[in-house]
């Protein structure tokens, strides 16, 4: 019987997901009424909208300033905070209902949470957050849209089906408040780098506020201490040297391996890294209006073939391919010498384990300079607002502005650490959480709006190493040609298409299929929706140019 219930729940999830996809268009058109835009209108208008002007906030200068290309600002220590607001931004406003994602433990409810109560006081009204664990968030959002009673502010996740329709028909158009210099009304939203805004544009309008993430994306971390211990070259100049490094770090008898299979357990971590040496495009490349997927390129096929050779050479952990390892722990104890992780992983790995974390830049495959670096997603999601009168929208934007106050402001210190003395104390110039702070300051405000990430504040050596990596990597950043272009098929079928490609590559690197099998995989990928995505992107591109 319990099986029965589980299967029933699974069934609900599956049918529910389908229902959301099927129901959404009719539901949306019902709500949207007249004035819905056709995709071609949308694309041409996308071209017309002026993105918010990027005006870095300069009242506190970082030790290492951010660059317009996307190198993150760096801090060696906590600056003396300044008050960025003289009064609560939403004084006297109606309470704000917010729906967002939860990536950490659940904080105590407002009634038992001194931090949350103080937050409401400082904002000037009650913030009623509905928090949902990240894994369940898409389902929660689908039911909220189906039910029709939208909260004032909601996080739209990147996988939401028919995202363009949802945003343009159910959510408020923010263009007049944010486009061009209008954003200066909200200085901390103007402080969000330009890279994060293009994906907020749908149907010719700005429909969301980004939660900025640095363009540097995923980093190929190494155990710098192990490399030094064995006297190996930490900066391979071509693929052959990279392979030498991997082989030098592998010692099967002592359970030492170069690579795991990545967080997806299919070797994509290494395929991507080798692909960067070969110049594989980031998702899509465009030439004369024609789009080519990374999967269709010879370079990608080559990257898979070379990775399969590395697997054959025995430099992968024996359980890496097709399994799921506790990679962070294995990196921490030296079983794995490399780990591909988000840029925030640098601090997490270096803080958690007593090891020296390094980062490897991909060289060109045959040497002669650096390879490419794939740009990361520049926003965690889309913070959208329920349609409302302009006055209310301005209040909600003022709230997001307050939530985006950067390091150097007292608002930032409160948001991240709570009340000094209660939730944290300053020790040696850095905040240290109290037990109460550990529990209460977990309200997921950073998934409503946030300031751009910075390097540090940490000890100088680490910040410098991170900064040096970014300064070397950022000039080689490649962005997807699909950036800023919208394709329904890409959102709705993206997961399935990725799975087709990943599973196909896994078959090859696991040695179950020859490399020629990749052509079959790509054919299948095109038939299952790849060609459809391409057609939509090309149409959107043609309209925009």
């Amino acid at each position: 019987m319990s099986d029965m219930r589980i299967s029933r729940r699974r069934f609900l999830e599956v049918t529910g997901g389908l229902a959301a996809v099927v129901a959404a268009p009719s539901l949306l058109s019902a709500c949207g009424g007249e004035g819905g835009t056709s995709p071609s209108d949308a694309a041409s208008a996308n071209n017309a909208v002026r993105l918010p002007t990027y005006t870095p906030w300069d009242q506190v200068s970082p030790d290492l300033p951010a660059t317009p290309e996307g190198v993150m600002a760096g801090f060696y220590s906590y600056p003396t905070p300044v008050d960025a607001f003289s009064s609560p931004p939403l004084a006297g406003a109606e309470p704000v209902e917010i729906l967002t994602s939860l990536l950490g433990p659940l904080p105590p409810a407002a009634g038992d949470n001194a931090y949350w109560q103080e937050l409401n006081t400082r904002v000037g009204t009650d913030l009623n957050l509905t928090m949902t664990p990240q894994a369940d968030y898409p389902n929660k959002l689908a039911t909220v849209f189906a039910g029709g009673d939208l909260p004032d502010i909601m996080l739209i996740n990147t996988t939401l089906a028919n995202r363009s329709d949802v945003l343009t028909r159910l959510c408020a158009d923010l263009t007049e408040f944010l486009s061009g210099d209008a954003v200066n009304e909200y200085p901390f939203l103007a402080n969000i780098p330009a890279d994060s805004w293009p994906n907020m544009v749908y149907g010719g309008g700005i429909y969301a506020v980004p939660i900025p993430r640095a363009v540097v994306g995923t980093i190929f971390f190494s155990r710098a201490d192990l490399i030094a211990e064995r006297g190996l070259n930490p900066e391979p100049a071509d693929f052959a040297e990279f392979r030498e490094l991997a082989e030098g770090l592998t010692d099967a008898a002592n359970n030492r391996w170069a690579f795991g299979g990545g967080d997806t357990g299919n070797g994509k971590n290494v395929i991507t890294f080798v692909g960067n040496m070969l110049g594989v495009p980031n998702a899509w490349k465009e030439e004369g209006g024609a789009f080519t997927s990374e999967h269709e390129t010879e370079e990608r096929k080559e990257a898979i073939a070379r990775t399969a050779e590395l697997v054959q050479a025995g430099v992968f952990h024996p359980d890496a391919i097709g399994g799921k390892l506790q990679e962070r722990e294995l990196f921490g104890n030296g079983t794995l010498a490399f780990r591909s992780d988000g840029y925030a992983g640098w601090d997490i790995l270096a803080d958690t384990y007593p090891v020296e974390v390094g980062a490897v830049q991909a060289p060109k495959f045959d040497g002669g300079g650096p390879g490419v670096v794939r740009a990361g997603a520049t926003s965690f999601g889309y913070t959208a607002f329920k349609k409302a009168d302009p006055e209310r929208i301005q209040q909600l934007l003022a709230l997001c502005n307050w939530l985006a106050a950067p390091l150097g402001t007292s608002e930032f210190m409160f948001r991240k650490f709570g009340i000094e003395g209660t939730h944290y104390t300053m020790e040696n110039g850095a905040p240290v959480r109290t037990a109460q702070g550990d529990t209460e300051v977990k309200v997921p405000l950073e998934y409503v709006a946030d300031s751009p990430h910075v390097l540090g504040p940490r000890d100088r050596a680490r910040v410098d190493a991170q900064r040096a990596y970014q300064e070397a990597a950022i000039p080689n950043i490649v962005r997807s040609a699909a950036e800023g272009l919208y394709s329904d098929a890409s959102v709705n079928k993206g997961g399935q298409l990725t799975k087709i490609a990943d599973d196909g590559a896994l078959e090859i690197i696991a040695g179950r299929q020859p490399i020629e099998y990749w052509d079959t995989v790509v054919d299948n990928w095109r038939r299952q929706g790849g060609d459809e995505v391409r057609a939509e992107l090309e149409a959107a591109f043609a309209e925009a140019h």
């Binding site: 029965m4 069934f11 529910g16 129901a23 389902n139 722990e329 803080d351 944290y424």
Partner: protein, 314 residues
């Protein structure tokens, strides 16, 4: 239960007596065979116990040991309760624990009552609207509503943010009704007839005759329900916005579904040293296992019996 009989076996070869140990009528095997059996049983037990031990040990281990072991540890060298302290501080988990216990107890009681009443009436041929009700029950077995229709129904009934939304939608399981109905149908009609001759009405027949004979199936259905209510979190995701009303499994899920599953998103800039993620997750497993583990031994007797019902006639 097993009778050890020592009996004399007199053989025809000169009346030499040989004593052999007999267990329940079967001769006891020799030492090597018994030793081998013992080893096999030990291995089987180890296969069950070691994962449990690893879970409990990892929950007590510190970061250094977890890192050295690369994930799971079999015995904590420097046991500490940091993981449990991190989870239980702030009162969120203990509150959710009370919610879950309440939902499980109330839900199981309601489910058992409704399923029993429905199954019993459907097991009596000729009861009111027998066929249509049975067909309706069967229909729900084969055609389940999707997530969104269910959500809309719950919402229209005004049950959002109410504990009832965690009980009512799953209160009567069609499959349970069918199992129980089949069990009731096996009870000899003569017993019911005899009760009726003695003047018992339907309710008395149910409570005095049928239910006492059905303890096994009630225990089984009850346990299934309790486990299902205890483990349910998805309905709370959809129906409960007020986090004070979240059941334990959903609160614990916020610890398990951490950044590790989605790639790192943000580093904690305060540099707080949290207990190792692995220890936290294992501590969560222990916390969510304990109540079921406490209840199970008391129901296990019925449970095993219930599973055998209908297996052997006689």
């Amino acid at each position: 239960m097993t009778d050890t009989i020592i009996r004399d076996e007199r053989r025809g070869d000169g009346g030499r007596a040989r004593r052999q140990r007999m267990i329940a009528g079967t001769p006891q095997p020799g030492l090597p065979v018994r030793g081998l059996k013992g080893i096999v049983l030990l291995i089987a037990c180890a296969l069950v116990i070691l994962p449990f031990l690893a879970v409990v040990s990892t929950s007590l281990a510190d970061q250094q040991q977890v890192t050295e072991a690369g994930g799971y540890v079999l015995w904590p060298e420097r046991p500490n309760l940091d993981a449990y302290r991190a989870i239980l501080s702030g009162g969120v988990v203990s509150r959710a624990l009370m919610v879950s216990i309440g939902i499980t107890v109330a839900g199981t009681a309601l489910s058992l009552t409704c399923v029993t009443l429905l199954a019993y009436s459907l097991s009596r041929a000729g009861s009111f609207l027998h066929k249509p009700i049975l067909l309706t029950v069967l229909f729900t077995l084969f055609f389940t509503p999707g997530m969104i229709p269910t959500y809309l129904t719950v919402r229209q009934l005004g049950l959002l943010d109410s504990y009832w939304s965690l009980i009512l939608p799953t209160m009567v399981g069609a499959f349970q009704v069918i199992i129980m109905r089949a069990f009731f149908q096996e009870i000899p009609g003569e017993l019911v007839d005899a009760a009726r001759i003695d003047g018992a009405n339907e309710l008395q027949i149910l409570t005095r005759i049928v239910l006492p004979l059905s303890k096994a199936v009630i225990a089984v259905i009850g346990l299934f329900n309790a486990v299902a209510y205890w483990n349910a979190f998805f309905n709370a995701v959809l129906y409960i916005n007020d986090t004070e009303k979240w059941p334990l499994q959903l609160v614990l899920r916020t610890y398990v579904v951490d950044n590790a599953a989605f790639g790192v998103d943000t580093a904690d800039i305060a540099g707080t040293v949290m207990p190792p993620a692995q220890s936290l997750q294992m501590a969560i497993l222990v916390i969510s296992l304990v109540p079921i583990a406490l209840v199970y031994p008391f129901l296990q007797r019925h449970f095993a019996k219930g599973m055998l019902i209908g297996a052997v006639k006689g």
